[in-house]
Amino acid sequence: MTKAKRNRLIYNIVTFALVIGAFLLLQSMIANKSITRSLKGQLVPICCWVVMAVSLNLVIGISGELSLGHAGFMSVGAYTGAVISGWLLNAHGVDNTTLRLVLAIVAGGMAAGVMGALIGIPVLRLRGDYLAIVTLAFGEIIRNLVNVLYVGVADGRLTFSFLNKSMPEGVTMLVDGAKGAVKIKPISTFTAGFVLILITLIVVLNLVNSRAGRAIKATRDNRIAAESMGVPVTKYKMMAFVTAAALAGMAGALYGLNSSTVVPTQFTFNQSINVLVFVVLGGLGNVLGSVISATLLTVLPEMLRAFSDYRMLVYAVVLILVMIFTNNPLIRSVLSSAVAPIKRALRGKKQGGETA
């Protein structure tokens, strides 16, 4: 086993161990009721933002393209999920919440993936920052479209319209224009969120460490060199972008089905930037970093409630401090020397396991 391979293995093991450990810890806290309502209520959103951050990291950190419309894919997933779940319940009487949730998440992922492909095909052929501009526009267009979208279910059939008036009699509205997706039956669970994070990690880490992943990184590091080696740049960039879009759609479906209502204003440009902050703070290309930063930055504003109206100010200061500290060479060396024994121990164990 080469050193690089071993490091990667350790990194992956640590990532999965942390996620699974956190899940087990929280589950035991829920079981013996030692968890606050506040934290319990945030568990599903945390899972969604972790998936969002990891998937955006795939685009920004791994394939080196800037995407500013990640919340747009999330909204596609959230709306699709809400419609599918409402349709299954109202038209087909599917009472099994797990089945509905799984189907909604799959549909949300597929819808967002298709959107990602539609955008990616023309734009990823270009060089430069076009993807940033186009995804930015996409996020806004999608938001404005769902603002006037009406979806209802009547007699077991879905009706779509951009004009409220054309809805048939006796319709149950699922999406009501500017009022957003309404009367959602919340069915998301923490376990579903945890499974979605695992799926995301497996997909992203496998992709990154595969032949395709090396090609994606090659196109990021030097496009011309990669092209001259015969790497089809557009294809690999598409692979990363569409995967990320689909994962964001799945996170969106989980997010949408966690609340009784979803409104277009939840998926603004600001929200995309928020996810971008998670990624940058966690480290470009660092999947574990994205997981940790998305979790901490989602929980942090709630922990700062004691500062009442000044908490976003404190939040900003904390962000800046984290940036400074993690980039300080002295602190970095202290951190890495603290981590080194653990790494060594893990490495030793692994080697021991192999020789035995």
Binding site: Q42, S260, S308
Partner: protein, 375 residues
């Protein structure tokens, strides 16, 4: 042991309808949830300040109840409101005064419905806020109810019988109010002589105004926000057409439209439960205290929340809520009590039915010399 006994005695007295001893006052933990930061902070701060003044008054009165007000910020965000709600319950809240804005209230109210937590919203006005939930009650009219309330007001005050309606058919707020207005007008024997529509893109209203004028309308009903209304007033003045213009709460703010000649709005009437310049004792007392504490004139939202605290206390008294009672228990008692009480507040005399919608006398203000005044 003595303390427990005293508390038990106090609880028994309360339940039997005898007012508790003053020194054993019941402490109600009420959480105000609303946007105190962000784009909608204007409204959240207004409801918070209104509630603070009412709580202070009740605490100073040394009555049977003490109020402990908890404030949680929801940023007018559907995700954050759930966090705010959970944080409030973690802090020991027994009931919620909120939330201030409609969409977050819909989300938090649904969560409260599952958890059995009582909500009284001062200002969330969409129908979805109370729909399918028995735990949410409103202080303001629901949007469509403003239509029937307007028709009632026009009929009862004999403002006229020939009515023109101009409404935005691309807007739920506008069409919702128009539908209930037309239905109630038919009941009250009012005649709709002209009905015309527009959309968000419309800037020229001459056709709509001419239609109203040619059909001899005495009143023009404008269920819309103030921006299109200001254009309609301009066109009507140009055509020398001077009926009574009647608007709803969306009209509140027309005097602040940039570049709008406010003299055109003279005589315009609008449905609103509160006017800061009113001279009755309650309003003067509230406005003075509010100005002293926060240095500004209270808006409608503040008055709604001020009433909200008094409504919660009245309902808690009826329901026999005691200190430290769990929110789940409080919820069902409060739901029953809300349907029995009647409260005389700043925004009118109010009663509730099981739907959670309020019944109160509609009040309309008229614009005179660039100010809102009650008749």
């Amino acid at each position: 042991m003595k303390k427990v006994f005293a508390l038990l005695m106090a609880a028994c007295m309360l339940l039997s309808g005898v007012s508790a001893l003053a020194d054993e006052a019941v402490t109600l933990k009420i959480a105000h949830i609303g946007p105190t930061t962000g784009a909608a902070a204007l409204y959240g701060l207004a409801t918070l300040h209104g509630a603070e003044i009412a709580a202070q008054e009740i605490n100073e009165a040394n009555g049977a109840f003490k109020i402990e007000l908890i404030n949680e910020d929801d940023e007018h965000n559907v995700e954050k409101v759930i966090n705010a709600y959970n944080a409030a319950l973690d802090a020991g809240a027994q009931m919620i005064l909120g939330t201030t804005t409609s969409k977050p209230c819909e989300a938090a109210g649904a969560q409260g419905y599952t958890d059995r937590v009582f909500f009284l919203t001062p200002s969330a006005s969409s129908t979805a806020v109370i729909e399918d939930k028995d735990n949410v009650f409103q202080i303001c009219f629901t949007d469509p109810n403003q239509g029937s309330a307007s028709a009632q007001y026009i009929a009862e005050h004999g403002l006229g019988t020939k009515i023109a309606v101009i409404y935005n058919n691309a807007d739920v707020y506008s069409t919702g109010i128009r539908d209930t207005f037309v239905a109630e007008a038919a009941e009250k024997g009012l005649e709709i002589v002209s009905e015309t529509t527009f959309t968000d893109e419309t800037t020229d209203f001459s056709v709509q105004v001419a239609d109203a004028q040619n059909n001899g309308a005495e009143i023009v009903f404008l269920p819309m926000y103030y921006t299109p209304a200001s254009l309609i007033l301009k066109v009507a003045a140009d055509k020398d057409f001077h009926p009574i213009f009647f608007g709803v709460d969306g009209m509140d703010g027309i005097l602040g439209v940039e570049g709008f000649d406010t003299s055109l709005a003279e005589g315009v009437m609008l449905l609103t439960p509160f006017v800061a310049t009113a001279t009755d004792e309650k309003t003067v007392n509230f406005v003075t205290k509010y100005q002293k504490a926060y240095g500004e004139i209270p808006i409608q939202f503040a008055a709604d929340a001020y009433d909200g605290i008094y409504i919660l206390v009245a309902a808690a008294e009826k329901a026999g809520i005691t200190s430290g009672m769990e929110p789940e228990e409080v919820c069902d008692l409060m739901i029953a009590a809300m349907q029995e009480i009647s409260v005389d507040g700043l925004t009118g005399s109010m009663t509730w039915d099981e739907s959670g919608a309020v019944t109160k006398t509609p009040m309309a203000a008229t614009i005179v010399n660039g100010e809102y005044v009650f008749e």
